[in-house]
């Protein structure tokens, strides 16, 4: 039905193409089976098309590190990486991630210790309640992968896409500056 290998129609959904049509048009679906990687692991699930990636990560995969604040793109709490780039997971449908690589905050410290960016946040009081932190961390990781020595302007531009109600931001800025120095990439 669908030529894209990462995007298949679930068996239970009838995928009929009316015979009257000459050229086969793709039929819109209410649910799709998608395959993609989340934190390096391949995931294949059938998902309702209107489910956001954020809800899919939290509810279907139990990855509740991705937080939901506003659910309309403003706060940044849900920010994750799509093929390495920071995106709002509340503004992306899970089916749109078919074939892609997703990274969430859970990927940062799979073992015991903290990721250097996380450690810097702890060291420099970059968090208090921690609600906003997963989003800040993922944006900071993406920035620091691209720029080993980011300018303050780049740091502020990146962090400007996130809201924090607790810290007053200065600790977060300091944490990212520090992480640029301590993270051995």
């Amino acid at each position: 039905m669908n030529g894209d290998p990462a995007h298949t129609t679930p068996a239970q959904a009838p995928a009929r193409v009316p015979a009257r049509r000459k050229r086969r048009l793709r039929e819109p679906q209410s649910a799709l089976t998608i395959r993609f990687t989340v934190n390096g692991e391949t995931v294949e699930r059938t998902v309702e098309v209107r489910k956001t990636l954020a809800d899919f990560l939290r509810e279907d995969l139990g990855l509740t590190g991705t937080h939901l604040g506003c659910e309309h793109g403003v706060c940044g709490a849900c920010t994750g990486l799509l093929n390495g780039e920071p995106v709002r997971s509340c503004l992306l449908f899970a089916v749109q991630a078919a074939g892609a690589g997703i990274e969430t905050v859970e990927s940062l410290a799979p073992g015991e210790g903290l990721h250097p960016v996380q450690a810097a946040f702890r060291e420099h009081h970059g968090l208090q309640c921690g609600f906003c932190t997963p989003g800040f961390l993922m944006s900071a990781v993406a920035l620091l992968r691209d720029h080993t020595v980011p300018t303050d302007e780049q740091i502020l531009e990146t962090l400007g896409g996130h809201l924090c109600r607790c810290t007053g931001y200065q600790g977060i800025v300091e944490a990212v500056r520090a992480a640029a120095r301590t993270w051995q990439r």
Partner: protein, 291 residues
């Protein structure tokens, strides 16, 4: 589940998209970067029956020089524009303005075509298109047409696009020598929609303004060109006085809305100051010095 139920389809080509749009008509809705549409879906302010996701159409994402225009595919991410040395060199006004659109995490998904098609009254890119007299290329089942910004923008969140139309490309004319451009804005926080934004284009001939263009955002239902002030600037000397007078004249003719964040009078005052700054900056960038 935030959005109301819909069905989803991801076409792989422009032709397939047009066929799907024709099939589903007013029940269908194009999904590009989703940075404006998905909030509307999440809040159930929009309830389309069928979402036509064009993100898989690679052939709609490009930045290409063709003769004396820069062609930008509608699906080109705003982030790609911002990172393009070609755009920065050849259409610096677009480059300068796009960095005011939301945040990096928004621009990784948001598209050039999506911003123009959405036509938010405070969006930056419609003013850029208006100031540059860009051409907006639209495909429909009956063929292709190129619209001027005046034809394309039809009012508050409204364009000339029909439900069966796809915006495919935006053509930005390259500006002649000795032309400077500038985009300035005031927003409540960096990354917010503009309270007022101004795009200016100034071409000079020695100490004289050969041609000037001024487009505002945030002060009307769509982008607003200040034709009166433009006419008055052409042929004048490039002095601070001339720019300030033209900016005041342009701002006085605006009819912005009052809302909780800014009264109409405040917006007009800001517009006058920003227009002067934008004109002076554009003039300086054209190689002129303001006296």
């Amino acid at each position: 589940m935030k959005p109301a139920p819909f069905r989803y389809v991801a076409p792989r080509s422009v032709d397939e998209t047009l066929a799907l749009l024709a099939e589903h008509g007013a029940e269908g809705k194009i999904l590009a970067g989703g940075q404006s549409l998905v909030p509307l879906l999440n809040m159930r302010l929009a309830r389309p029956q069928v979402i036509v996701d064009i993100n898989g159409i690679r052939s709609l994402a490009y930045i290409r020089r063709k003769d004396d225009h820069l062609h930008v595919g509608a699906l080109t991410r705003q982030r790609a524009v911002e990172e393009s040395a070609t755009v920065r060199r050849q259409v610096p006004l677009l480059w300068e303005a796009i960095r005011f659109v939301g945040h990096p995490q928004i621009r990784t998904r948001g598209t050039v075509g999506g911003s123009l098609a959405h036509a938010d009254p405070s969006a930056e890119l419609p003013a850029v298109a208006a100031a540059l007299d860009a051409e907006l290329v639209v495909r429909s089942p009956s063929g292709e047409r190129a619209l001027s910004p005046g034809e394309f923008f039809a009012g508050y969140l409204t364009t000339a696009l029909e439900p069966t139309d796809l915006l495919t490309e935006i053509r930005f004319p390259l500006l002649p020598e000795r032309t400077g451009t500038a985009f300035v804005e005031v927003a409540r926080r960096h990354g917010d929609f503009a309270l007022v934004g101004v795009a200016a284009v100034v071409r000079r001939s020695d100490g004289t303004i050969a041609e000037a263009r001024l487009a505002f955002t945030g002060v009307g239902p769509g982008p607003v060109r200040a034709r009166g002030a433009e006419g008055r600037l052409a042929g004048s000397a490039g002095t601070s006085r001339v720019f300030a007078d033209a900016a005041r004249e342009a701002a006085a003719r605006l009819d912005p809305e009052s809302e909780i964040h800014a009264t109409a009078q405040y917006r007009r005052d800001v517009a006058a100051t920003l227009a002067r700054r934008a004109l002076e900056l554009a003039w300086q960038r054209s190689g002129g010095r303001t006296r």
